[in-house]
Symmetry: C2
Subunit: 129 residues, 2 copies
């Protein structure tokens, strides 16, 4: 398979696939003309990466997850720990964003949104005043 084929089959942009090769996540062979030549296992790895990234794992996490996946003698505890740590980060980020949403929501609600200059949003940003 050429890169265009794996791109459409994996759902990842060709640029991203080249990047993943660049950083050593995949190692496709090369055809005589220099084109990347992907096997089914490469496609499978890319799909794995795509799903892991969609769950918000960092590239380094993905590297670790792939290594665990390929290690038949892994302990599921290692996978679980990585996932739990990631989960905790996600939850922290959600909490941060919810706090922003709550504050901002209140401010927006209190703003007339008309042609006059008085605005509780700016008032708050300027230090309540």
């Amino acid at each position: 398979m050429n890169i265009g084929d794996v791109a459409s089959r994996s759902g990842l942009p060709a640029k991203t696939i080249r990047y993943y090769e660049d950083i050593g996540l995949i190692k496709p062979h090369r055809s005589a003309n220099g084109y990347r030549c992907f096997a089914e296992t490469d496609l499978h790895k890319l799909a794995f990466l795509g799903r892991a990234r969609a769950l918000g794992f960092t590239i380094e996490d993905c590297r670790t997850l792939m290594a665990l996946y390929e290690d038949e003698s892994r302990a599921s505890a290692d996978v679980k720990q990585l996932a739990q740590e990631h989960l905790a980060k996600i939850e922290a980020k959600i909490a941060d964003l919810q706090a922003m949403r709550d504050t901002l929501g209140e401010l927006v609600k209190g703003c007339a949104g008309d042609s006059r200059p008085d605005c509780p949003i700016l008032k708050d940003l300027s230090g309540k005043g």
Copy 2:
């Protein structure tokens, strides 16, 4: 005031303050020795920026908000619209993260986390199979 003073009084790192000057958000004067020389208004602007950034507004949003703040003839509708658009982005991000959290939470829950290799997390990432 020197940069260290405004840093501690605004809560922003000196590096960030220099960066904000670099991109034109603030324009402190200079003393004879070349040091930045901050007035109270600069401090006030930095505090404004700090609060806007804490609410997740982008730097460009902050630029716009500062301009609106300084424009006595602004319409609060413009502020409100900016804030509402930002709010919508925050809510979208929260929804994304919640979807991740839900999926990942399920997977983590189903993982034994012991010394054996069987792992629903890896199974899911590899395409359910």
